[in-house]
Symmetry: C2
Subunit: 659 residues, 2 copies
Amino acid sequence: MLTLIPRTDFDRVRSRSGGDDLLAVLADMCRANALTAVKRAGSGHLGSSFSALDLVVHLLLAELNVAQVGWDDPNRDVFFSSKGHDVPGLYAALHALGVIPTERLLRLRRLGGLDGHPDVGVPGIEANSGSLGMGISKGRGIAWAKRFLDRGGRVVVMVGDGELQEGQNFEALQAAVHQEVGRLWVIVDRNELQSDRPTEEILALGGLTDKLAAFGWLVESCDGHDHAELRRVFEKFRADPGVPCALVARTIKGKGVSFMEHPRALADGAGTYRWHAGAPGDEDFARAHAEIVERVDARLAELGLDPLRLEPVPALDESPAVSLQGEPESGAGAPAVRPTVTDEYVAQAYGEALLELAETHAELVVLDGDLASDCRVRAFELSHPARFIENGIAEQDMVSMAGGLARHGLLPVVNSFASFLASRANEQIYNNASERSRIIYALHYAGLIPAGPGKSHQSLRDISLLGALPNCVVVQPGNAEETRALVRWAVAESTENVAIRLAIGPSPRRLELPAGWRLERGRGTTLAAGDSAVLFAYGPVMLHEALVAAETLRAAGTRLTVIDLPWLNRIDRDWLADAVAAHGDVFVLEDHAPVGGLGDALRRELAEAGLADGRSLTVFGVDGWPACGTPVEALRFHRLDGGSIAQRIAERLGVRSVT
Amino acid sequence: MLTLIPRTDFDRVRSRSGGDDLLAVLADMCRANALTAVKRAGSGHLGSSFSALDLVVHLLLAELNVAQVGWDDPNRDVFFSSKGHDVPGLYAALHALGVIPTERLLRLRRLGGLDGHPDVGVPGIEANSGSLGMGISKGRGIAWAKRFLDRGGRVVVMVGDGELQEGQNFEALQAAVHQEVGRLWVIVDRNELQSDRPTEEILALGGLTDKLAAFGWLVESCDGHDHAELRRVFEKFRADPGVPCALVARTIKGKGVSFMEHPRALADGAGTYRWHAGAPGDEDFARAHAEIVERVDARLAELGLDPLRLEPVPALDESPAVSLQGEPESGAGAPAVRPTVTDEYVAQAYGEALLELAETHAELVVLDGDLASDCRVRAFELSHPARFIENGIAEQDMVSMAGGLARHGLLPVVNSFASFLASRANEQIYNNASERSRIIYALHYAGLIPAGPGKSHQSLRDISLLGALPNCVVVQPGNAEETRALVRWAVAESTENVAIRLAIGPSPRRLELPAGWRLERGRGTTLAAGDSAVLFAYGPVMLHEALVAAETLRAAGTRLTVIDLPWLNRIDRDWLADAVAAHGDVFVLEDHAPVGGLGDALRRELAEAGLADGRSLTVFGVDGWPACGTPVEALRFHRLDGGSIAQRIAERLGVRSVT
């Protein structure tokens, strides 16, 4: 049974006069509630929620005016986190302040609940974040607007220390000084760890305070869990409103739960920190929660207050039919992953294929942007440390470095999440491509699912972002076998750059390819045969939904051909002519926006091949902003689950509707 | 009559034993030839070619091994310029070394000649550059590859000082130290000016050497025109091969021509430096060239050498029919612009519209990334300094700052070249859009023309880069009137973000809109009526070519309807049904790649509206990498000039061919 500390308990503690001691207790109470919310969601970032919570609570409850004047007041102090994945902690604090109701806190990462990363649609959230490095720029914009509009209030931006590897931060730092934007504070949550390893190991920040000072900021440093220290620093900042101020707050990742605190947890994990993301298992959860509650109760007793009145949390309204269960996230040890077909992780097959190809391709080198575990290249790193390049959270630098490697005879394989790699490093990818060298871009985490992290992490534009490059093939494999074949092709055969989209989760079903199957450029594979219409799809998530749709329709007498087409912008015309020959109705199921994906490519090909006449082509894609929620919630929201697809196809064909 | 210093003169001077004095003479000789090449091309960057030339000549002739071992040797020292627009100077040096033949030097910015920015297809060019901030990352990749492959040679990357505003530089600096990449040198051409104003005015770099040192580099500083000093610094760097080294070379922009040297030129221009880009007029050219040649001859005499033997340069093979003549580039004073219809600059109309709207829209603020003159917002800056934000060369920061402004009640209008803004800041645009605030992105320099600067500046993917955003309208006006109407609509009416593509040059013809014309969302305007087929186009360049095509076809009896459709991803379905009602053959002329532009949008709309059946749709777009050359050369190369379009349409329609 999960429990939550009710808002009334926060009010009770806050109403007790008292200073820094109370803030520490309140931060701990928020830790307990963030832990419950993440446990219930099944994922979320505890490590940095906990490292940041003393700062968050101190700011919102003791330093800033926003809890008093409200989040609509133009003169409010603005606070947000640029890294954003610490948002469970912030949600807990906003819940403590009555800004976020209990029922919503309990719907973390669920449809209509709280997004996995900050979204301004949620009360109290001042900026969308989650993709790193944009916050100081954005905060400066807000501070500039306040000055221009003659409004009161400061702007406080929390950044992670790993996040400072992103170059945009330094653009923002220099501009703030040049533009003389005051009332802008940056607080570095210096917890010394990035996703699962120490910052100094991934990409050392060097003398951080010196660096910030070299950019002209007023820099202070203190213990980020010591409220007296924080008070002292903020007083100093307040006295100097004309200069942008930075606090390097030394914190402990996982602070407040002994076995999650990073020095110990890092030792336990033999150098890998396992509490960056993901919900703890039942036992770990119980230990962690009990530890926090006991400490809070002990402090309350010292203050002469009653112990906490924990309220039981209602049971989760589990979705009845989970298409894709797992939602792994950063961290090798991320628990709560319940794979459906574990040996059908395409990401895993990708990592294994690279390892295998390394033996025969001495020119192959692997680049990583602090996501080695998620991108399944940790094994490569361990086996081939001399051929593995860790670049930290700096996608642009990583891509341009790959350009230099490629020009001098190496074959770089560049890894990051699709949303960051295809978008943030887009011009660098273009620049490399214009040198006509050859690079493989592995776009992990592509598509709608997992939908829990929210729109900063859901990549639904990447095909469109790379599709107009003259020499870049975009592909997405549907199962492990196809993954291995595509990676092999990309390394050994392709004459162009290859962008390979990879679903990060386990596959919802094992896709069987025909016996003797082999990969052919531009050609797909029929997974189900029928004469009513043809449905093209790609990737494990949507191929599963396509097959569910075919199975559903078949029960109503409509027989759908389902084709797995992993080639998203290079389609063999002869093959296509055969594939559509028997069909007047062509459907495309995109794990992408309806614009710029496979649907557009097919429409183009059909038209140019003279195959368009007398054929309808209908695209089902992710319309609008991708929904945040469980896989089922997100698929249903966009009407892209198998049942909805069946219904939409039946409507289009004018055949008997399916239930 | 233009003249060139022949290679034999360089050999003669180089064969004379002598040290630093000779290097200064050789640099001056390269200045004279770069000046001639730029004058002949009609555009190019002289200011930074001249500031960098002592460095370039010193490196290639005295310090690096590459001129001895050759540009194919794997153990060569690698040198390239990250800023890249100083490439006329480098070309002159490569010509002096016999790497680039004379006839090619004389084809600067011409098809099959030398690209306006570096391209590895040109002998001696080691990296594509021109879009700023990628060089240190790329150089690090090369140095890493050399170490990994056990090859000899150093890597030397030249960067501009203004260029250091790009955050990617700082990503690269920190990674070089962390990855312990030695044999990597960065030379900052610290000429203190960016496009046309002082770096300290646009966005101060602060204590540059301190900054670089704070990132862990070995930093030196010296006079970048003093060869003895350079020798001393490079000796020191050579002694320390394990550490990345940076030289801040203090240089003078325009060095070598008294009236182009920046302290004087800046005073002459009342704070604006006019020799950043563009070729000088005839008189200025003659003065500049004579000054250099006289100084060289005097030095040669001192050295006991004969004077220069200037060779006359053959006359320019002017293209017979220039569709679009002007190729303006950075710099208010850029000469050699020969506009066809000067009052039909869409960029100019854009700037004027902003000024006008500023009166009635107090929330409107303008952001610039060091391109205020080109983007025609200098007048806004002067009229409304408090509403103008200069962000320097840091597009990501600029866009995220705009996000903060927009969230707090302002309407930011963000300006840069399309290739930089839509691509480099793509993820920041996505992040802002996800906050459902409203921002206008002005994508200057969009499309194929001007084609002289080369692919780093030609933006042919921007529609595809923004088209899949759920809430971003992409438009491109065809003339000044449409520009004013679209800007007004974007500011006062649109509920979505607006990306407005703008051609930077003068219009090749005045496009007449019907009397009483008014802008209607999603609807185009018929510019020529005919019953043979319909051709959709947008923007001044392609609308002109479309009309030329119609005029050409008409002579052969084929009557084309030409429709100006400025809405590139929002098309009114009812209007479209009318527009194509009489036509079975639909053509689209893209100022964009054939993928992801208006053609795809029209195909989508026709299909979804049930208008596709029995209709062919043919897209003419910029296939492959955009050609570098004059407007006519580039248009012809891609078969997108009016004549070629007429021929392609005639072929498609099976009508009498046109000449």
